[in-house]
Structures are given as structure tokens and as C-alpha cells.
């Protein structure tokens, strides 16, 4: 576990979020994310995991506590360090796949030739080179999500934040995208924080599962998933995987009973 000895890339310390209507989405949330790791935030709906992700992204400000960026990464501006994948593909319907993926580069005024090269490379990585000129409307749900991931990766972010990206997809597509995501994560050496309410998905993907409890949202427990990568179909059907899932399910159940709501 050399990973745990690394200095964290970012740390949330005592982060709380109260909305103006009085709802406390988060309270006393402590979380460290280390460079290069794949961490899953697992919890029931309403436990504030999406809110935590938005706070990390800077889309929402915490009302208590702080978000610390550590190490050399501090010198870089936040927007160039983060890629965000939403629950929906969130593409611009009026333009092509290519232009959708190129958007972050255009917004940062990257020269057209360089941008084109990077867009083509990332489209190739998600397997959509042939669809560069298609419109989002013409693609399937899974392909749209691939475009969304390509757009998040095109800036080569240090940290990829994913908010239940595959929740709306069918199981076959989800498994395929899980595998592809792991492959991309390994070759890109980026850091991923992945929000999900699926025990199976969290265990399959991540090295560390952070189980959250609701009302108010907080970290309930952490589980290490000490299975080596690359993980594939063999892992998905292994007894080891089943055991990890059982433990994660039990922890999740405890987290839900801890909040006193059935």
C-alpha cells in the first residue's frame, strides 16, 4: 500500500454544506484523495455525495470547513486540473461530437491545430473516431456518455470527477464502460473520484470505497478493495469480488440504519 503513504492531492476537512432552505447536505466531511487513485463515494440517494463532488469541483462553496489542494498541483489553476462527468451526458445538442469534445480547449483558446490533434486522440481513446461528425442526437446513450468522458479527458485533467455517470445506462453498456474507464484510468494515470449508488460498480472500479451516511451527509466508513488491476470479467465473477461486495453491502446497510431511516 505505497499509495497510502503518498501526500494527498486534495483534502476536504470538516466540510459542511447547508442550503438556504435549511437542509444540511453535508456536515463534518473529511476526505483525502491521493494522486493516481480511484476512489468511489458510495451512499444512498440524498447522502450528499453529489454535493461533495460539486464542492471539490468548485461549482458549490462549502458553508463550513475547507477544501485543500496540496503539492505542486497548487500552482495550476483549478479549472485546468478538473474534468467533470455529469449524470447526464450534458452535450451541446446543436453541434457535432467533435465540437463538443473540443469545447474545453476552445474555451481555453488552445490553437486550432493542437486542439484538433488532441480531440482526435481522445476520441480514438473512447472508440468514437468514426462519429466525430455525428450530432449527439444521432448517438446511443452509451455513446453519448463516451463523448462526455472524452470531453472531460481532453484537457488531460489531474482529477476526474464522475457523478453517477452510468446510472441511466443498461447493464451491458455499463459493464463495457466500466472496463473502458478502468483501461483509460490506468493508461492516463489520472485520479478519479467516482460517485455511485451501486455497490457492485463501486467495488469493481475502485481501490477505495468511501461509504457515506445521510442526514446530514458524512463519511461513515472506508473499505479498501485490495484486488490488483487490471480487473476484468474474471474479477467480476470471482469469489473475491463477491466477498468485497458483501462487505460493502453490509457497511452500506449499517450506514443507512445509522441515520435512523429505513
Amino acid at each position: 500500500m505505497t499509495l497510502n503513504t503518498l501526500a494527498p492531492l486534495l483534502a476536504l476537512r470538516g466540510v459542511g454544506k447547508a442550503f438556504p432552505n435549511g437542509v444540511r447536505a453535508l456536515a463534518g466531511l473529511d476526505l483525502e484523495v491521493r494522486p493516481g487513485e480511484f476512489v468511489a463515494l458510495l451512499g444512498p440517494s440524498g447522502c450528499g455525495k453529489s454535493t461533495a463532488l460539486r464542492i471539490i469541483a468548485g461549482l458549490s462553496e462549502p458553508t463550513e470547513g475547507i477544501v485543500e489542494w496540496l503539492g505542486a498541483a497548487n500552482a495550476v489553476r483549478r479549472e485546468s486540473r478538473i474534468g467533470f462527468v455529469f449524470q447526464e451526458p450534458t452535450l451541446m445538442p446543436w453541434t457535432t461530437v467533435f465540437n463538443n469534445v473540443a469545447l474545453p480547449l476552445k474555451l481555453k483558446r488552445v490553437a486550432a491545430a493542437a486542439a484538433t490533434k488532441r480531440v482526435e486522440a481522445v476520441l480514438d481513446r473512447v472508440g468514437l473516431s468514426a462519429f466525430a461528425r455525428a450530432y449527439p442526437r444521432e448517438l446511443s446513450g452509451g455513446m453519448r456518455m463516451r463523448v462526455s468522458i472524452a470531453r472531460a479527458l481532453v484537457t488531460e485533467p489531474q482529477l476526474l470527477l464522475m457523478d453517477e455517470p452510468f446510472a441511466a445506462l443498461d447493464e451491458i453498456t455499463r459493464f463495457k464502460l466500466n472496463d473502458d474507464l478502468l483501461r483509460m484510468w490506468q493508461s492516463l494515470r489520472t485520479t478519479v473520484v467516482f460517485v455511485t449508488h451501486s455497490v457492485f460498480e463501486s467495488v469493481y472500479l475502485s481501490r477505495r470505497v468511501v461509504v457515506m451516511a445521510a442526514r446530514p451527509g458524512r463519511v461513515f466508513a472506508e473499505l479498501a478493495v485490495d484486488a490488483p488491476y487490471p480487473r476484468d470479467q474474471n474479477f467480476r465473477t470471482s469469489a473475491e469480488y463477491a466477498a468485497f461486495c458483501r462487505r460493502a453491502s453490509a457497511t452500506l446497510r449499517q450506514a443507512m440504519s445509522a441515520e435512523g431511516v429505513p
Binding site: 460539486r54 479549472e79 467533470f84 450534458t90 445538442p93 474555451l107 481555453k108
Partner: protein
């Protein structure tokens, strides 16, 4: 184009009550003949009604021996249209130019004001009530005043603009507020300037609404031009179709009144369909409203 839209509604009713994906995607073989019949009826029935109406009109005028200064027969109107074509076509061009200028001003003014309102709340709060007042005050009542203070051509243009700009303003405002929230978040994640957000996100999101507003504005700018021409009552070379109608009324040249009216409505139809076509071409690849047509 627009005749295809209700067609899909029809096939939905007549088709399998629970259509599967394959049925939706595949060629509508089973529905083919019904759809063709439907389309033929849709085109043929209005033509039949028109022919019947004209025939009855012509017959009544002939049998009752109604003089043309009371009610001209369709044939007489057509003959007048041909005989007076030089005069009427000149007037048509005048009216169309006014309409087009008024429409262009309404498009630029409506979209421009909406963008300004969107960027500055102070400007929006200060000016929006007056935009509404301009809209609800009947333009027929404003026209005579405008003609006192402005040169005639300018007054006619302002009338066309007043009538046409509000739907563009209202629709564009609605469109600029209808941006997908996640997309807006994505833009702020990349730290964009207001200008970039407007150009790359808000305006494209608003495009279907803007085009909808323009489609209404096209017809309204013709109405505005006609109202202003009637109020102005100018004569000579610069006289538009509406003036021809008034003038022919004074001279009891009823067939020419009808001929001019016919040209005005044809102009309105052409404007509507041209704008519908532009709307379709701009949106066909991505927007639901235009995609429904292809199915």
C-alpha cells in the same frame, strides 16, 4: 414540411397501440398506403374546397347578375390582376421592401434587446415595462402620431418594427433563460467569460426560441407595414399594396381591391413558408421540433 407533422400523429393513432422500437425505427411498410392516402387528402381537400368556393362565387355573381362594383366574380378579379399587373407588382415590391426592413429591424432589435436584458438586470427592469406597453398599444392608434413626427418612410418602418419586435424579444428572453443547468455548470467549471458563455452557450440554446419568434415576426411585420401604409395614405410611385386597396375603394374599383388583397395574402403565405424553411434547415440536425418531421 408542416403537412408531414400531423401525419406522424396520425400514424401513431392508427398504428399498433404499443409500438416497439423496431416498429418505430423500421420502414413503415404496413402504414405506407394509409400514409399516402392521408397525404393526398391533406393536399387535395383544401384545393377542392377552394375550387368549389370559387365556382359557387362565380355562379352566384353570374346568376344574380351582381355588378362588379358590388361583388366582382373570381374571373373578373383574375383579369384585373393581369391587366393591372404593372401597377400592382410595383406596389407589391414597395410593401415587401417595407416588410423586410421592418422584419430585419425587429430581428436585430428584438434579439439585441433580449441579450442586453440578459446581461444587465438594471436595463431589463428599466426598459421591459415599456416594451410591453409598446406591444399592447394598438399600432393603428400610434401610426398617425408617428406620421406627424417622422418622415413617412421612417414612420412606416417604425410601425412594422413596433408590431414585430415583441415576439422576438419575448421568445429570445425565454430562450436565453432555458439553458441546460449542467451545461452552464460545465462552462463555469472551465472559467469562461460572460461573452463566451453568451456566444457559445446561451445563444445556441436560445436559437429554436429565436427562430420561433422570427416566424411570428414575419407575418406581423407585413401587418405593421399595411397598417402604416393605410394610415399614411401616400400616393404616387412609393405607394404600397395597402394604399392601393384604400385608393381603389375610393374609386369603387372593387376588383382591384380584391386583386391587391390576394397579393397581400400570398405575400404573407410566402413569408411564413420561407421562415418555416429557414427554421427547419437550422434545426433539422438537432432540435426535437424539426426532428419530428423526419420520422
Amino acid at each position: 414540411m408542416s403537412d408531414l407533422r400531423p401525419l406522424s400523429a396520425h400514424s401513431r393513432e392508427s398504428g399498433n397501440p404499443v409500438p416497439t422500437n423496431e416498429q418505430k425505427a423500421g420502414p413503415p411498410l404496413a402504414r405506407g398506403p394509409a400514409s399516402n392516402l392521408d397525404r393526398t387528402l391533406r393536399l387535395a381537400l383544401p384545393v377542392v374546397v377552394l375550387a368549389l368556393g370559387l365556382a359557387i362565387w362565380e355562379l352566384v355573381v353570374r346568376i344574380e347578375n351582381i355588378p362588379p362594383y358590388v361583388l366582382p366574380a373570381p374571373g373578373a378579379i383574375l383579369r384585373t390582376l393581369v391587366a393591372d399587373w404593372a401597377l400592382l407588382s410595383q406596389s407589391l415590391v414597395v410593401t415587401l421592401i417595407t416588410t423586410f426592413e421592418g422584419f430585419a429591424l425587429a430581428a436585430v432589435g428584438g434579439v439585441g434587446l433580449a441579450v442586453l436584458f440578459n446581461q444587465s438586470r438594471v436595463v431589463e427592469y428599466s426598459l421591459y415595462p415599456y416594451a410591453v406597453i409598446l406591444q399592447v398599444t394598438p399600432v393603428v392608434a400610434i401610426a398617425p402620431l408617428l406620421l406627424i413626427y417622422l418622415p413617412q418612410h421612417a414612420a412606416v418602418l417604425v410601425c412594422a418594427w413596433i408590431v414585430a419586435f415583441f415576439p422576438v424579444l419575448a421568445n429570445t428572453t425565454l430562450g436565453l433563460h432555458s439553458v441546460d443547468r449542467n451545461l452552464a455548470d460545465l462552462f463555469s467549471l472551465y472559467g469562461v467569460s460572460r461573452g463566451q458563455a453568451l456566444w457559445r452557450l446561451k445563444l445556441p440554446s436560445a436559437l429554436p426560441y429565436i427562430l420561433g419568434g422570427l416566424r411570428i415576426a414575419g407575418g406581423l411585420s407585413l401587418i405593421g407595414a399595411v397598417v402604416a401604409e393605410i394610415a399614411a395614405g401616400s400616393a404616387g410611385a412609393g405607394a404600397g399594396l395597402a394604399y392601393r386597396i384604400v385608393e381603389s375603394g375610393y374609386r369603387l374599383n372593387i376588383p382591384r381591391m380584391f386583386a391587391a388583397l390576394l397579393l397581400l395574402s400570398l405575400a404573407g403565405i410566402v413569408i411564413f413558408y420561407v421562415l418555416t424553411l429557414i427554421n427547419y434547415l437550422a434545426l433539422r440536425r438537432w432540435h426535437e421540433s424539426a426532428l419530428a418531421v423526419q420520422r
